[in-house]
């Protein structure tokens, strides 16, 4: 049973509440305490958790992994062994994974740098009766008998939320342009998929074009500057697949003598502090969060797994959306990433 809750104009508390909801729905009435943490398994001793992580990759990943490390604390009864990949190299991850299995840790958290090639390692963990929980990244092929659960926000859901906002905001349709990440990356495909599922069906929406700006602010600025000229400024909406590109688009729009938010609206995904600031100034119109902070969810899943309770094979981390300057202003002081 998948649970996806979209909350609006609520923020950190919403995330925690959603976590509760999620777990209440899938676990057989476990601790249920929203503050997360809790005593692991209740067996008195500490629980050893091996975290096969991605390591330095970007702001989102840093926030995500820091959050996991901050949640699985010694005070909460955990001994977290953090093993980031060296240079995003899968082999270093497999090595770390194997040594966790050999050590006999209680549970393994895995954020795979690459989806494929994990069958052997996961089978070994299964033989050693060590539950594995996937954090954010899935595996390919997605054989959910090999792991307990995957906890991740859902790109398709997140971009659907942007699309739904677009439909509400432009009831009479709009001309829109999409700023994509690097071509072929799965995140880009999923964010396109969610958007197209909703907007593609609307004949009133005209796609002026899509171009990659490689997640980058200055490239996005350069792309949008030319796109505006090519279309005589006749664009209503820009869907930027990350915050940085959205900010670049805002700069280009301003330079063209237009006002972002009025002449052209910009919607972005991620929900970084910078984007919320821009939203609070009205330069962006909509920001959908791709929530990195799900350490609490992970703790609950670990607890359930160790107790042998049933855990859903995919736990979607609920993500918030922000559709007004006020919502952004409210959220800003607590923004962690």
């Amino acid at each position: 049973m998948k649970v996806s809750v979209r909350t609006r104009r609520t923020f950190v508390a919403a995330a925690a509440a959603a976590t509760m909801l999620t777990l209440a729905a899938c676990g057989p009435g476990d601790s249920g305490e929203g503050d997360g943490g809790g005593d692991a398994g209740g067996d008195g001793g500490t629980t050893t958790v091996g975290f096969v992580a991605v390591g330095p990759e970007g702001a989102w990943r840093s926030a995500n992994e820091q959050n996991i490390r901050d949640t699985f604390t010694t005070d909460a009864g955990y001994d977290l062994k953090y093993a980031p990949a060296t240079n995003l190299d899968q082999k270093s991850q497999i090595d770390a994974f194997t040594s966790f299995v050999d050590e006999g840790v209680d549970v393994i958290l895995l954020s795979a740098t690459e989806g494929s090639g994990w069958e052997d390692s996961l089978t070994r963990a299964q033989e050693a009766e060590i539950p594995v929980i996937l954090i954010d990244r899935g595996i390919e092929p997605d054989d959910d008998s090999l792991y307990v659960t995957r906890i991740a926000p859902d790109n398709i859901e997140v971009s659907k939320s942007v699309a739904n906002w677009a439909l509400e905001t432009f009831p009479d349709g709009a001309k829109y342009f999409t700023l994509e990440g690097p071509a072929g990356v799965s995140v880009v495909n999923e964010r396109n998929e969610g958007w197209d599922e909703v907007v593609g069906a609307e004949s009133s929406f005209t796609k002026v074009g899509a171009q990659t700006a490689n997640w980058s602010t200055d490239e996005a600025k350069s792309v949008v500057e030319t796109v505006l000229k090519a279309n005589n400024n006749d664009i209503d909406l820009i869907f930027a697949q990350n915050d940085e590109m959205g900010l670049g688009a805002a700069l280009a729009i301003e330079e063209a003598g237009l006002t972002p938010g009025e002449d052209v609206k910009i919607a972005t995904i991620d929900g970084t502090k910078g984007a919320l600031e821009a939203l609070s100034e009205g330069r962006l119109s909509f920001v959908a969060e791709y929530n990195p902070l799900f350490g609490d969810t992970a703790v609950e899943a670990v607890t359930s797994a160790l107790e042998g309770a049933d855990v859903d094979s995919y736990i979607i981390v609920p993500s918030t959306t922000f559709d007004s300057p006020e919502a952004a202003t409210e959220a800003l002081p607590d923004r962690k990433f």
Partner: protein
């Protein structure tokens, strides 16, 4: 330089054709023509009160060229010595990180602060160049390896400088570097052209160009001729990094944000491409700053054309690659000999053939 005696128009034309970057100019013109076909007003330039300067697609192309011009110039010097600088994109992000971090920390929008940020950015980028220079010229590591190390380390350093964040700052004078106008012309273009011209002049008016070429063609012969190989190679890597720093300032001042994972990312490839398009061999030796500059403008034109034409993202790399492969084919000596063969076979009166050539 050349004291060439009187030559026919045909000969002169053929000499021009032998300069590889001429074909890059042809390519730029063709791309512009394609854009004009799509939209007849493509080349129009107007004065924008909002910006306080000229606006138009051509202006956009030149502005987009500015950072590439910087790194292509630096890369040309490095490649001419027989080396390569893969860390030039990291010099960009480091300079950007230093500038943004300094500006955001100081919180001041004064001209002095902006100047200091610029100076500091170039200085720190220069330090990266010093490390490259020492690794290559003193330690004697392979340029590819040394600069590859610095490419990886550099981005890491930038992340340390900003604490892993994409730092944003406000400084009107600093923003002006990339977005401002002087007598209607974009400052960033004026700066870029001036810097390329100054570097070109220094290199050709002093003996630096001769020394660089001598080292690139035959390092041992140059050393035995008394050329201070170490000092020249060192100089070249520092110059490349400082130019990379300038490119980083351009790129970050434009959006007043340093994006630690994306600013300058893979820009070394654009730089290398621009240099090669400009007719400098990757093996080192004879080089052309002018050619590299033309190559830089071509790359910017190509980037802009792709967006203007609305080439789908997935087809963009293929489109760019096709243009560049065709260009290299046209430039290749092989094609020229083939054409010459054809010509001599076909014509009976060589003089007319030359004129049509």
């Amino acid at each position: 330089m050349s004291t060439a005696t009187s030559s026919t128009f045909g000969e002169r034309l053929r000499n021009v054709g032998r300069q590889q970057f001429v074909w890059a100019i042809v390519a730029i013109v063709l791309l512009l023509v394609i854009n004009v076909i799509k939209d007849p007003t493509y080349l129009s330039i107007s004065y924008s009160d909002n910006l306080g300067g000229l606006r138009g697609n051509l202006v956009d192309i030149l502005r987009a060229s500015a950072p590439i011009l910087m790194i292509a110039t630096g890369m040309a010097l490095v490649i001419a010595t027989g080396g390569i600088d893969l860390s030039i994109g990291s010099a960009m992000v480091i300079a950007g990180a230093v500038a943004m971090e300094f500006l955001s920390a100081s919180g001041s929008s004064s001209l002095g602060t902006a100047g200091l940020a610029l100076l500091l950015a170039l200085l720190v980028a220069g330090v990266l160049g010093v490390v490259n220079g020492v690794l290559v010229s003193v330690v004697g590591l392979q340029p590819f390896i040394s600069t590859l190390i610095m490419m990886l380390a550099g981005r890491g350093i930038a992340k340390v400088i900003t604490g892993g964040q994409n730092t944003t700052a406000t400084s009107e004078p600093f923003r002006w570097i990339a977005n401002g106008y002087v007598v209607g012309l974009p400052v960033v273009v004026l700066l870029a052209v001036a810097i390329v011209a100054v570097v070109g002049l220094i290199v050709r008016r002093s003996a630096l160009g001769l020394m660089i070429e001598a080292i690139g063609i035959d390092a041992e012969a140059a050393r035995l001729a008394g050329v201070n190989k170490r000092a020249i190679i060192f100089t070249v890597y520092v110059a490349a990094a400082v130019l990379g720093g300038m490119a980083g300032v351009f790129a970050t001042a434009s959006v007043m944000t340093v994006d630690v994972s994306n600013t300058g990312n893979q820009m070394e490839l654009d730089a290398i491409l621009a240099v090669v398009i400009g007719g400098t061999s990757l093996a080192g030796g004879k080089f052309s700053i002018r050619g590299a500059a033309v190559g830089a403008v071509l790359i910017a034109t190509l980037d802009k054309t792709v967006v203007f034409l609305g080439v789908p993202s997935s087809a963009t790399p293929a489109f760019k690659a096709a243009v560049i492969v065709i260009l290299f084919l046209i430039q290749s000596p092989w094609l020229h000999t083939q054409l010459a063969k054809l010509r001599s076979r076909r014509t009976t009166t060589p003089t007319t053939a030359e004129v049509t050539a």
